[in-house]
C-alpha cells in the first residue's frame, strides 16, 4: 500500500473510531495516538537509523549475536550486614546459577566513613555490607575465585578505594589485575543529581574518576571503570527520556574530563558502561533502551570522533524499578518485575538485576531473591523473548517511539550543553529541578487517579501485615566496630601513617594519579574512613544544591 493510500485509510479509520473510543480520565497520560502505521516511520532509514545488531548506530544491539550467543548476565545485587553474612549470600547465588556478583555496600562505606564513626550509628550493615578495611574485603570474597567471577560494585565517591581493595584481595589469591572482570559504579554526577552519596566537590571527584580510567587502561584492562547510571535518576522521579538524556550528558562530561586530562577517547571509551532502569511501561522502555544506544553511538562518533567501534557501543546493566514496587499486595510485584524483565530483555541488556517482591517493605528475604532470579530464568528459557535479536524492531509504534524519545533526549542534551555541560547544570540545580518536577507530577497523577497503580489507588483490599521480613541484626554495628578496633590493634600503624602521609601529598599534586597511592594505603590496612578523611582534608566536601 502506498503512503498516500495508508494516509487516506487512516483518516477513515480515525473518523470511524472517534466516537467509539471510551475516554477514561485515568488514561490521560497515554500517548494521544492509538494506532501507528508505516507513515509514522516513513522517514526512518533502515541503514542509517536501525541497521543490524553489532553495526552502527547499534539500535538493535551491540553484539551481532546477542542472546543467540549467550544470555545476559544474571547479576543479583546483594549485600547486607557483615562481610561473613554477605559472603554466604554470594556463594548461595553462585550455586543457584547467578553468573555475576553485585555488591551492595552500607551507607557509611558509600560515604567514606568507618563503622566506628559516630555518624555511622544505626546505619552499619543496613543497606549493604560494611567494609572498613582490606580485612573485610578478604572475608567478603573468601572462597570466591576472583579470576572466574565478574563483580559489580555499587560504589561511587570512594570507588577508587574499594577497587584498590579488590585488586589487593585478588593479588593475595594469586589472580593478576589484568585478569579481573567487573564494574565499579564510579558515577559521581548522578550522586549529586539524584542519589545523594557524594563526598567531595565535583572537581576533585572528576579527577579521581579520570585517574581510575587511566590506571585501569594500563593495569586492569578488562575492568569496566564506570557505570554511568540513569537508574537512580529514574528512581528519583525522572521520565524515560530524562533518564537517558541526563545520563548521556553525564557520560559526555566524563569523556571531556578524561580528554582534558590527556587521555585519548579510544583508550577509555570502550570500558564505559551504562546502567538503566526497567520501568513498568514495557514498550516505552524497549524504545528507551534502543534510543540510548543510538544516541551514544552518535555522540561518540560525531562529537568525540571515536574510531574504534567498541567506543561507540553502549553496553548496559539493567535493574528493575525499585520505585515501582508497592508495599500494598506485595506479591503483585512479582508480576511487575516479570514485565520489567521482559522490557530489559527485549531492549537488549547486557546484564540484569531483578528486584524482589518485598523490597518496598524491607531488605529481601532469601526466598524472595530466589523468585526474582527465577523470573529472569523463566524469561530466558521459557518465554521465547530471547529467541530472536531485537524482536520489536519494525514495530511502527516502537520504532516511532524510539525516534521520539531520541528527539526529546537530544533537546535536553542541547539544553545542558547551553548551560555549560552536566557539571554546570547540576551546580545550577537544573537537572535536580527537572527530576523533582517530574516526580511531583507523577505523585499528583497517582493521587488524582489520573494514573492507576494497582493495589495502591485502585483495586485496594484489606491485608494482613506481611510476615517473615528480613531483619538485620541490630548488633551488627557493635560487632563490626569491635572488628575494626581489633584490626587496628594488629596492623603496623607506622606503615599506615606513612602511607596516608604519602597519599595526602599525592592529593595535593593535581598531576599525580592517586590510584597507586590508594592501593599502597589499603595494603597497610588503612581504613576506608582514614583514607577518605585524608582526601576530605585536601579536597573539601560537596555542598548540595537544593531548590524545591
Amino acid at each position: 500500500m502506498s503512503n498516500e493510500k495508508i494516509q487516506a485509510e487512516l483518516a477513515k479509520y480515525e473518523a470511524s473510531v472517534e466516537k467509539a473510543i471510551a475516554r477514561f480520565p485515568e488514561r490521560e497520560h497515554l500517548p494521544e495516538k492509538r494506532l501507528y502505521t508505516p507513515i509514522d516511520i516513513k522517514d526512518t532509514d533502515y541503514a542509517d537509523e536501525i541497521s543490524f545488531p553489532g553495526v552502527y548506530p547499534y539500535t538493535r544491539g551491540v553484539q551481532p549475536t546477542m542472546y543467540r550467543g549467550r544470555f545476559w548476565t544474571m547479576r543479583m545485587y546483594a549485600g547486607f550486614s557483615t562481610a561473613e553474612e554477605s559472603n554466604k549470600r554470594y556463594r548461595m547465588l553462585i550455586e543457584n546459577g547467578a553468573t555475576g556478583l553485585s555488591c551492595a555496600f552500607d551507607l557509611p562505606t558509600q560515604i567514606g566513613y568507618d563503622s566506628t564513626d559516630p555518624i555511622s550509628e544505626g546505619e552499619v550493615g543496613k543497606v549493604g555490607v560494611a567494609i572498613d578495611s582490606l580485612a573485610d574485603m578478604e572475608t567478603l570474597f573468601d572462597q570466591i575465585d576472583l579470576g572466574k567471577v565478574s563483580t559489580s560494585m555499587t560504589i561511587n565517591a570512594p570507588a577508587s578505594v574499594l577497587l584498590a581493595m579488590y585488586i589487593a584481595v585478588a593479588e593475595k589469591q594469586g589472580v593478576p589485575a589484568d585478569q579481573l572482570r567487573g564494574t565499579i559504579q564510579n558515577d559521581i554526577l548522578k550522586e549529586y543529581a539524584a542519589r545523594g552519596t557524594y563526598i567531595f566537590p565535583p572537581r576533585p571527584s572528576m579527577r579521581l574518576i579520570t585517574n581510575i580510567f587511566e590506571y585501569c587502561s594500563k593495569n586492569v584492562p578488562k575492568w569496566n571503570t564506570i557505570s554511568i547510571s540513569g537508574y537512580h535518576i529514574r528512581e528519583a522521579g525522572s521520565t524515560a527520556a530524562q533518564e537517558i538524556a541526563f545520563t548521556i550528558a553525564d557520560g559526555i562530561a566524563y569523556c571531556e574530563a578524561a580528554i582534558k586530562a590527556g587521555l585519548k577517547i579510544d583508550d577509555f571509551a570502550g570500558r564505559l558502561s551504562f546502567f538503566w532502569n526497567a520501568h513498568n511501561n514495557v514498550l516505552e522502555e524497549v524504545a528507551k533502551f534502543r534510543a540510548s544506544r543510538r544516541i551514544w553511538a552518535k555522540v561518540m562518533k560525531e562529537r568525540f570522533h571515536a574510531q574504534n567501534d567498541k567506543s561507540m557501543k553502549l553496553r548496559f546493566h539493567t535493574q528493575t524499578a525499585g520505585s515501582m514496587l508497592t508495599a500494598q499486595q506485595p506479591n503483585n510485584n512479582i508480576v511487575r518485575v516479570a514485565l520489567q524483565t521482559a522490557a530489559a530483555v527485549m531492549g537488549g541488556t547486557q546484564s540484569l538485576h531483578t528486584n524482589s517482591r518485598d523490597e518496598a517493605l524491607a531488605l529481601p528475604t532469601q526466598e524472595s531473591v530466589t523468585i526474582a532470579l527465577r523470573t529472569q530464568q523463566i524469561v530466558a528459557y521459557e518465554s521465547g523473548l530471547a529467541d530472536v535479536i531485537d524482536p520489536l524492531a519494525g514495530s511502527y509504534y516502537v520504532e516511532s517511539m524510539t525516534n521520539s524519545i531520541e528527539a526529546e533526549a537530544w533537546d535536553y542534551i542541547k539544553k545542558i550543553d547551553d548551560l555549560g555541560g552536566a557539571v554546570a547544570a547540576i551546580e545550577k540545580g537544573y537537572i535536580q529541578k527537572e527530576i523533582q518536577d517530574s516526580a511531583y507530577k507523577w505523585q499528583m497523577d497517582v493521587e488524582s487517579g489520573a494514573r492507576t497503580i494497582v493495589g495502591v489507588n485502585k483495586f485496594q483490599m484489606e491485608e494482613e501485615p506481611p510476615k517473615g521480613l528480613l531483619k538485620v541484626d541490630e548488633a551488627v554495628g557493635e560487632r563490626q566496630k569491635a572488628k575494626v578496633e581489633a584490626m587496628k590493634a594488629k596492623r603496623d600503624n607506622e606503615a599506615v601513617k606513612a602511607a596516608l602521609a604519602d597519599l595526602k601529598k599525592a592529593c595535593q599534586d593535581e598531576n599525580e594519579n592517586l590510584m597507586p597511592h590508594i592501593l599502597a594505603a589499603v595494603k597497610t590496612y588503612a581504613t576506608l574512613g582514614e583514607i577518605c578523611n585524608v582526601m576530605r582534608e585536601v579536597f573539601g566536601e560537596y555542598e548540595a544544591h537544593v531548590s524545591l
Binding site: 555542598e543 548540595a544 537544593v546 531548590s547 524545591l548
Partner: protein
C-alpha cells in the same frame, strides 16, 4: 513560661517562641516586646539583599562563620516569599547554613513573607529586636530584593549590602535600578564567572551618575562565597561603613528615623485594625458597600463619617 524573662536569661526556645508570637501576631507579642525593648540597641544589623540565585544564603553562612571566628555571636533572619496562590512557602535558606545549626553562638530563623506585605517589615524589625535583646552581636537580615516591602526590610538595617552575580543579562538592569540607592555596599558573588569585571564597571558607572552621592562611595567587593574567597575583605568594608556612619552621626540618624517610621507604622496599623474591626465585625461594611454600589452615597463620604465617629 514567661517568654520575655526566659529569653533574657538566654533560653533559646524562648527566643524562638517570641519570634513566633511576633509572626503570628499573638496578643502576648506586645507584652513581650515591651519587656524586651529596654534590652535592645546593642546589636549591629546587616541587611543582605539581591536577586534570586545570587547566593545570598551561602554568603550569609560564610559571613556568619567569619564573625564567629572574630568571637561575635550572630542571629540570622532569612525571609523567603510565600506563594500567593497557596499561602504556603518553602523556606529553603537554612539548608545552606546547616553547618551553623549546632553552633550555640548562632541562631537562624526562616520567615515567610505571608500575605500581609504591609506588616512584614514591622514583624521582621521586631524579630531583630528579640535577637538583639537575646544578646546577639550581629544580626543578618537576608531577603530577596524584588518587592518594595522586602526592600523596606533591608532598609531597616544599619548597613545594607546588595549582592549581585555576573551574567544575569538584562533582567538585572531593572533590579539594579531598583536597589541602587539602598546599597551601602556591593558584593559581586560568584566572581569567578565570566563578566564579573564588566559588572563592577557597570555598577561604578551607575554610582558615578548618582547625583545624591554623599562622601561615602559604596565599595564593590568581589567574592566567591562557595569557596569562602573574599569574605574577610567584604567584612572589612562592613566595618568601614560602620565606623563611617558611627563617626558622622549617620547611624544615630538612621536609627532615629527607623524608630520614627516604626512608631508611625505600628500606630497606623493599630488604628487601621481597630477601625476595621469596628466596621467589619458590626456588619456595617456590607451595608456601606451596598449603598455605594447603588450610588446612594460614595466611599469618600462614608469614610469621612466613619473617621469622624471613631476619632472624636
Amino acid at each position: 513560661m514567661d517568654i520575655a524573662e526566659e529569653l533574657l536569661k538566654g533560653n533559646r526556645l524562648a527566643l524562638s517562641r517570641a519570634i513566633t508570637a511576633i509572626e503570628n501576631e499573638y496578643d502576648e507579642a506586645t507584652d513581650i516586646m515591651k519587656k524586651l525593648y529596654p534590652h535592645t540597641g546593642h546589636a549591629y544589623v546587616l541587611g543582605i539583599t539581591g536577586p534570586p540565585g545570587a547566593g545570598k544564603s551561602t554568603l550569609s553562612d560564610k559571613i556568619a562563620r567569619e564573625y564567629r571566628a572574630q568571637g561575635k555571636t550572630v542571629g540570622i533572619i532569612a525571609v523567603d516569599p510565600t506563594s500567593p496562590f497557596t499561602g504556603g512557602a518553602i523556606l529553603g535558606d537554612r539548608i545552606r547554613m546547616n553547618g551553623l545549626t549546632l553552633d550555640e553562638g548562632v541562631f537562624i530563623r526562616s520567615m515567610g513573607t505571608r500575605g500581609s506585605l504591609g506588616g512584614l517589615s514591622h514583624k521582621t524589625a521586631d524579630a531583630v529586636k528579640a535577637m538583639d535583646a537575646f544578646g546577639k552581636d550581629i544580626i543578618i537580615v537576608e531577603t530577596v530584593g524584588v518587592g518594595q516591602s522586602e526592600v523596606d526590610i533591608v532598609k531597616a538595617a544599619d548597613t545594607t549590602m546588595v549582592v549581585l552575580i555576573p551574567g544575569m543579562g538584562d533582567d538585572i538592569q531593572a533590579i539594579k535600578a531598583g536597589i541602587l540607592e539602598i546599597g551601602d555596599l556591593y558584593c559581586i558573588n560568584k566572581s569567578d564567572l565570566d563578566g564579573a569585571d564588566k559588572l563592577v564597571r557597570e555598577i561604578n558607572m551607575m554610582l558615578d551618575l548618582d547625583s545624591l552621592m554623599t562622601d561615602w562611595r559604596p565599595p564593590i567587593t568581589k567574592v566567591v562565597a562557595s569557596q569562602n574567597e573574599g569574605i574577610a575583605e567584604l567584612l572589612g568594608t562592613v566595618d568601614k561603613h560602620r565606623t563611617y556612619i558611627e563617626g558622622n552621626g549617620e547611624l544615630a540618624k538612621r536609627r532615629t528615623k527607623r524608630t520614627r517610621d516604626e512608631m508611625l507604622d505600628i500606630l497606623s496599623s493599630n488604628i487601621g485594625s481597630y477601625i476595621k474591626s469596628k466596621i467589619v465585625d458590626s456588619g456595617r461594611l456590607d451595608g456601606y458597600v451596598e449603598q455605594i454600589k447603588q450610588h446612594k452615597t460614595d466611599p469618600y463620604t462614608v469614610i469621612g463619617e466613619v473617621m469622624g465617629e471613631m476619632l472624636k
